[in-house]
C-alpha cells in the first residue's frame, strides 16, 4: 500500500480501540517476570556457555601480541575468540568502529577477546588472565581542542550539514537586539535498564541470535555482512527489550562475539556487555559545542538566526545534528546552520533519544530565553511571535502538515500557571529555597519509514499480527493490537501480537520516534488487505463492508469473522510505503515545556518542583503509554540538564565514570510531579493513522526549561551542561545565591 495523498476518513477514525488509554497487553508478563529477555532464553537455546568480553586497555594503538595460555588453562574455559582466530570479518554498515578490535585498537574498551566458559564466574575470572601487549599511540580526545580541526561532514540521513537563506551577516549586524552565545553539552550514555545481551546458536550454517535489538532487519543485514554469511542464514529474535534509547539500534559486540564464540565452541553462547563496559564499549550521544546568534527587532521578532555546531567522532563517523530544529522552529528571513565534525578517538558517537534536537534545544531554547529577557518580552509570547506555519528555509510553498506549537504554548502555560512567574530573576523565596519558573518549546522531526506486517484470523475469530517491529518498553505491543482490533472490528483482547522476529515481515523498527506511526500504518495496510480477502470470501463489495463486533457486514447481512476465516484461517500481508508528502509538507511534532525549580540559597542544590508540558503529535494512539513516553523523556531531559555527563579523561582517552554509581541519572526523588497534556491534532499527511511520533518529543526542550527555571530562580545563567553545583557557585557573584 502506498501513502501518497493525504488520508481521508478511514476505519481508524472510529476511535473505538485506537486512542483509548489501554493498559499494556504485555504488562502482566513483564511485571511477573514471565516476559523472557534475550539473556534468559534458555528455553530456546538450552545449556548455553557463557562469554565474557575483554575490552581494550588503551584508547588508540595496536595489539603487539596476545597470550592466551593462562586463560585457556583456567577452570571451565571452552574457547577464546580474538581477531587472530575469528576468521575474516567485515564491518557492519551501521558500525563506525569494529565490534572485535585487533590488531588495530580504535577506542578504549573496544572488545578484543571473548572468553567462553562453562559458567559466568569462570569466564569472568579467565578474562582477567588474557595477556595482551598493547602498543599505545597518541589519540585525539578533547573536542574543544580539536574544534579548529573540525571539517564539514557529508550529508547524514538526507540532511545537509550546512544551510543558508538570505543574508544572515547583514541582517544580524543591523538587528536591534542580539544574542550571541556559545553553549556546550557533554557526552551522554543511554543508561537503559537491560544491558546489551545475546544468546547465539548455530544449526549448521544457520545462525539464530536471541538478542536485544531495536532494528531487527538492520541487525540481520549487519550480522550477515560482518560474518560474511548469507542474510537468509541469520535469524534475529528480539521480542522483549529492556530499553534502548538508540543504544540498541545497531548490532553490538555482544551479538557478534556470541556468534563467534558459539561457532568456536560448538554450543550456544550467551554474552551480556557488563554495565561498567557499556559506556566505553558501545555508542554514546556525542558532546557538542554550539554557537547561537539571534537578531531580532525590539519586539523580539527574529530576522536573523544562526546555529553553528561542532561535535566529534571516530574516523568514518557522523556529526551530532544539533542545528536540525533551528531550520524549522522559528521565523526569520536570514538564516544559517552549520555542522562541523572533528576526529576524536573516543568511543563511537551515535544516536541517543532525539539525536540532534535533544541537545540542539538545550542551546536554542536557552538562547531564546536570553532573547526574551533582552527584549523584555515574555518567553511564551516571544515564541508565539516567532511562530511560522511553513518551512522557513523553503518558504510558504512548503507548509507544515500540521503545526500546533502556539496551541501547546498557550494551553501549556495556562495549565502550569505561567502567569504567576516573576520575570525578574532571584525574587521568589520559599524558606531556604529560591523558586523560579522556566519554559521551552519542544520540537522533533516526524519521520516515516516503510513498514510491513502479516495479519491473520482463525476459526474462533482471534486475530494474530506478526511483524519484526520491536517494543523497547514503549508500548508497541498494545498500539499494534489496538490498530488490528480497530481495523477488524474485534476487541483488543481478541488480538495476539507477535513482534521482533526476523521471520516476520520487515517493519520500521524502533528509532527516531518513527516506530509507533510507521509500524501501525504497516498493520493498517495488512489489515486492509485482509479486509478485502474477508469481504471477497463473504461475497461483499469491499468498499461497502463494515467490520464490527466480530462480524463482517454489508447492509443487514453479516457473517462471523471466524466462520469466514475457516479452519485454515485467513492471512494477508502488506506494507505501507510513502510517496513524497514529506517533501511537500514539513512534518514535525511540537510542544511546550514548563518547569518550576527550587535552588537552595546556601548550597545551590537544585530541586525540580514540578514539570508540565503540552504536546501535539497527531493522533495519540494510546494516551496512557504515550504519557509514559513523554514523562520518561522529560525525566531524561531533567537528567541532561542537571547531572548526566560522561566525563572524558583526555590523557587516557576514555569515559571515566563508566558505571551507574558515577554516571548519574535522575532517581525518583529528583522528579516529584509531571503533568502532560496532549493537544488535539490529526495529521492527515503523516499516515493513514494520522499519528506522528511522540517517543522523543518529550526530551526535546525539557532540559532547557530546567535551565531557564534555574536562571529565573537565581539569576545565574549557565551555558555548559550539566548545570551542577560547582558551576552555579562559580557564577554566583552578583546573583541571588551570592
Amino acid at each position: 500500500m502506498k501513502f501518497d495523498t493525504p488520508a481521508t476518513t478511514n476505519p481508524i477514525d472510529r476511535g473505538r480501540v485506537v486512542g483509548i488509554p489501554h493498559d499494556r497487553i504485555d504488562g502482566a508478563a513483564k511485571v511477573t517476570g514471565t516476559a523472557p529477555y534475550a539473556y534468559e532464553r534458555h528455553d530456546a537455546a538450552p545449556k548455553p556457555a557463557y562469554g565474557w568480553i575483554v575490552g581494550s586497555a588503551i584508547a588508540s594503538g595496536t595489539i603487539r601480541s596476545i597470550d592466551l595460555k593462562a586463560a585457556e588453562a583456567a577452570p571451565g574455559v571452552l574457547g577464546i575468540v580474538t581477531y587472530e582466530n575469528a576468521g575474516p570479518l567485515e564491518k557492519g554498515d551501521f558500525n563506525t568502529a569494529r565490534l572485535l578490535g585487533g590488531p588495530k585498537v580504535e577506542h578504549y574498551e573496544q572488545a578484543v577477546a571473548l572468553v567462553v566458559a562453562d559458567t559466568l564466574e569462570n569466564a569472568r575470572d579467565a578474562a582477567k588472565l588474557v595477556q595482551i601487549d598493547f602498543a599505545p599511540a597518541t589519540g585525539r580526545f578533547d573536542l574543544a581542542g580539536e574544534r579548529a580541526n573540525a571539517v564539514k561532514p557529508k550529508a547524514s540521513f538526507g540532511s545537509e550539514p550546512d544551510t543558508s537563506v538570505g543574508d544572515f551577516d547583514g541582517a544580524f549586524a543591523k538587528a536591534a537586539v542580539k544574542v550571541d552565545q556559545t553553549y556546550t553539552t557533554p557526552d551522554q550514555s543511554h543508561a537503559m535498564m537491560e544491558p546489551h545481551a545475546t544468546i547465539a546458536a548455530w544449526n549448521g550454517d544457520m545462525l539464530t541470535l536471541w538478542t536485544a535489538n531495536q532494528m531487527v532487519a538492520w541487525g540481520v543485514g549487519d550480522v550477515a555482512k560482518t560474518l560474511k554469511i548469507k542474510k537468509e542464514n541469520v535469524r534475529i529474535v528480539s521480542p522483549y527489550i529492556g530499553g534502548g534509547f538508540g543504544s540498541k539500534l545497531f548490532v553490538r559486540a555482544d551479538a557478534l562475539l556470541a556468534a563467534l564464540g558459539a561457532r568456536q565452541v560448538g554450543r550456544p553462547v550467551k554474552v551480556a556487555i557488563a554495565r561498567p563496559q557499556i559506556p566505553n564499549n558501545t555508542t554514546h550521544r556525542p558532546a557538542t559545542i554550539q554557537r547561537i546568534r539571534l537578531g531580532a527587532d525590539r519586539n523580539g521578532v527574529i530576522d536573523a538566526i544562526a546555529h553553528d555546531v561542532w561535535s566529534g567522532d571516530l574516523p568514518g563517523g557522523g556529526p551530532e545534528t544539533a542545528a536540525q530544529q533551528t531550520r524549522l522552529l522559528y521565523r526569520g528571513a536570514n538564516r544559517i546552520t552549520t555542522h562541523r565534525l572533528a576526529t576524536l578517538d573516543l568511543p563511537e558517537g551515535n544516536a541517543m533519544r532525539a539525536p540532534g534536537e535533544a541537545v540542539g534545544l538545550l542551546a536554542l531554547e536557552v538562547a531564546m530565553d536570553e532573547l526574551a529577557e533582552a527584549c523584555g518580552v515574555d518567553p511564551v509570547e516571544l515564541r508565539i511571535r516567532n511562530d511560522v506555519q511553513f518551512d522557513p528555509e523553503a518558504g510558504p510553498q512548503r507548509p507544515f502538515s500540521s503545526r500546533k506549537l502556539v496551541e501547546c504554548l498557550r494551553q501549556g502555560a495556562d495549565r502550569f500557571g505561567w502567569n504567576r512567574r516573576n520575570p525578574k530573576p532571584g525574587q521568589v523565596r520559599d524558606g531556604r529555597w529560591l523558586v523560579g519558573m522556566g519554559m521551552a518549546s519542544a520540537f522533533r522531526n516526524n519521520l516515516v519509514q516503510t513498514s510491513g506486517a502479516r495479519v491473520g484470523v482463525d476459526a474462533e475469530g482471534r486475530v494474530t499480527v506478526e511483524t519484526d517491529m520491536t517494543d523497547i518498553g514503549t508500548g508497541t505491543y498494545t498500539i499494534i493490537g489496538q490498530t488490528a482490533a480497530e481495523m477488524l472490528g474485534v476487541p483488543l483482547e481478541a488480538v495476539t501480537v507477535k513482534l521482533g522476529d526476523s521471520r516476520f515481515p520487515v517493519s520500521a523498527g524502533s528509532g527516531g520516534q518513527w516506530g509507533a506511526n510507521s509500524s501501525t500504518a504497516g498493520v493498517y495496510a495488512a489489515c486492509m488487505a485482509l479486509r478485502a480477502k474477508l469481504a471477497e470470501k463473504a461475497g461483499f463489495a469491499a468498499d461497502q463492508t463494515d467490520f464490527e463486533d466480530g462480524l463482517v457486514k454489508q447492509g443487514n447481512r453479516s457473517q462471523k469473522l471466524g466462520a469466514l476465516a475457516g479452519r485454515e484461517g485467513l492471512w494477508a500481508e502488506d506494507k505501507m510505503e510513502y510517496g513524497d508528502l514529506e517533501k511537500r509538507y514539513a512534518q514535525a511534532t511540537f510542544g511546550a515545556h514548563f518547569c518550576e525549580v527550587g535552588v537552595d540559597v546556601d548550597t545551590a542544590e537544585v530541586r525540580i518542583r514540578r514539570m508540565g508540558g503540552a504536546f501535539a503529535a497527531g493522533r495519540i494512539l494510546n494516551p496512557k503509554s504515550a504519557r509514559s513516553q513523554v514523562i520518561g523523556a522529560m525525566t531524561m531531559g531533567a537528567g541532561a540538564a542537571l547531572m548526566e555527563e560522561l566525563v572524558v579523561d583526555t590523557r587516557f582517552g576514555f569515559f571515566v565514570n563508566h558505571d551507574m554509581a558515577e554516571y548519574q541519572v535522575p532517581v525518583h526523588a529528583d522528579i516529584p510531579q509531571q503533568d502532560v497534556l496532549f493537544v488535539d491534532e490529526l495529521d492527515d499527511k503523516s499516515s493513514p493513522m494520522k499519528a506522528k511520533g511522540v517517543g522523543e518529543l518529550g526530551i526535546c526542550g525539557a532540559g532547557a526549561a530546567v535551565a531557564n527555571a534555574i536562571y529565573n530562580a537565581t539569576g545565574v545563567r549557565l551555558r555548559d551542561y550539566p548545570l551542577t553545583i560547582d558551576k552555579l557557585l562559580r557564577h554566583a557573584d552578583g546573583t541571588a545565591i551570592a
Binding site: 577452570p75 575470572d125 535522575p666 557557585l729
Partner: protein, 318 residues
C-alpha cells in the same frame, strides 16, 4: 571474581583465628561493597569468613549511659532504632542519607566503617592506583577529581572516604571495639581508626590482620540540636560532594564533622571552637591546609555554604 573458599564462623575467636591464619582472608558481613569489588577483582580474597551468625546484631545501653551497637546491626535497623532516633538523631539522619533502602537492609555497622573509596580510577583495574596496586601511581591527582578529597590527602592518593554513617560516628566520638585472634580486646577511638594515605594509601585503618570489629559504642547522648546535611549531584542515591554533621548544644557550643572532603571522616577541634563566629569561620578552621585540585576546589566554598545551611536549619529547629 577469583575462586575463593568460604566458611561460616560460629564464634568470635574462630572468626578472628580463621582470618589471621589464612593469607588474604577477609571477613564478610553484608557484602554490599566487598562483593562488587571481588567481581571487578579489585579485591581478591582467597578465603571468606562469614560473620553474620555471630550474634553481633544487638543495640544495648551501656552502663555509662551510652549505646553499644553490634557490628552486624544493619544500617536500616540502626537508623530506625527508637533510641538512636531520639538521642543520636544525627546518626539516624546520616544513615538514611546513604545508599538505597535495599543496600541499607544488608549493609552493617562495621562494614560501613570499612567501605572503600569511590574514586573512579580505583574502580578501573587498567588504571594506575596506589590504593589498589601500591606503587603504580595515582591517575586521579591530575585526572578527573571533582568528587575526590581536598584535605588529608597525599601525593600518592586523593581518594575520599564515602561513608555518611562514619561521619556521624566521628562527630559522636564513637569507639570501635574489636577482638583479635589471640582473644585480645581493644577499644579504638574512631578518631584513630581510619588512617590518612601518606605514602601507604592501601592501608586504610588500624585493624591488625584478623582483628574483628565486634561493636561500635557511643558515649552518653549530647542532647542539643542535630543536623546532617548532605550535598550531592542528585537528590538521593549518590555519594556526598560535601556533607556536614553537626550537634549544637544549648550552651552555644557546637561540634562538626565532614564527609566527602577527606580520606576519613573529617573533624577538627578548631572548627568546633569557631562555631560562635559562624559558618565561614568553621569552614576555614576545618579546611586549614586543604590541597584541592583545580576540579574540586569548589568544595571549599561549598563546605562554608553547607555549614551556612546547617546553621540556618539549626535556627529553624530551635
Amino acid at each position: 571474581m577469583k575462586p575463593f573458599t568460604y566458611e561460616r564462623a560460629t564464634s568470635l575467636e574462630q572468626a578472628a583465628k580463621a582470618v589471621a591464619s589464612v593469607q588474604g582472608a577477609r571477613f564478610i558481613a553484608g557484602g554490599t561493597n566487598l562483593l562488587d569489588l571481588m567481581k571487578l577483582q579489585i579485591e581478591t580474597p582467597a578465603h571468606l569468613v562469614d560473620v553474620n551468625r555471630l550474634g553481633l546484631d544487638k543495640i544495648e545501653k551501656t552502663p555509662e549511659g551510652g549505646l553499644r551497637i553490634g557490628a552486624l546491626v544493619r544500617n536500616t535497623d540502626l537508623a530506625a532504632d527508637a533510641t538512636v532516633r531520639r538521642d543520636y538523631a544525627v546518626l539516624s539522619r546520616a544513615l538514611v542519607a546513604g545508599a538505597s533502602g535495599q543496600l541499607r537492609n544488608k549493609a552493617t555497622t562495621a562494614g560501613n566503617l570499612l567501605q572503600r573509596t569511590r574514586c573512579p580510577y580505583f574502580y578501573d583495574t587498567r588504571m594506575p592506583c596506589n590504593k589498589r596496586r601500591p606503587g603504580s601511581g595515582c591517575a586521579a591527582l591530575k585526572g578527573i577529581s571533582r568528587g575526590l578529597a581536598i584535605i588529608g590527602t597525599s601525593d600518592a592518593c586523593i581518594a575520599q572516604h564515602p561513608s555518611d554513617m562514619a561521619v556521624a560516628m566521628r562527630l559522636l566520638d564513637a569507639t570501635v571495639e574489636t577482638v583479635d585472634a589471640a582473644g585480645g580486646r581493644r577499644a579504638i577511638p574512631i578518631a584513630d581508626f581510619h588512617r590518612l594515605p601518606g605514602d601507604t594509601p592501601h592501608v586504610e585503618h588500624t585493624l591488625k590482620p584478623g582483628e574483628l570489629i565486634t561493636a561500635v559504642t557511643l558515649p552518653r547522648p549530647l542532647g542539643g540540636t542535630h543536623v546532617y546535611h548532605k550535598v550531592r549531584d542528585r537528590a538521593s542515591y549518590a555519594f556526598a560532594l560535601v556533607s556536614v554533621a553537626a550537634v549544637f548544644g544549648k550552651d552555644g557550643s557546637a561540634r562538626f564533622a565532614f564527609g566527602g572532603l577527606a580520606p576519613k571522616p573529617w573533624r577538627v577541634a578548631a572548627a568546633d571552637a569557631a562555631a560562635p563566629s559562624g559558618a565561614k569561620a568553621v569552614a576555614e578552621a576545618a579546611l586549614a591546609g586543604a590541597r584541592p585540585t583545580e576540579q574540586n576546589g569548589f568544595k571549599q566554598g561549598l563546605t562554608a555554604r553547607t555549614l551556612a545551611s546547617v546553621f540556618r536549619q539549626k535556627e529553624a529547629a530551635a
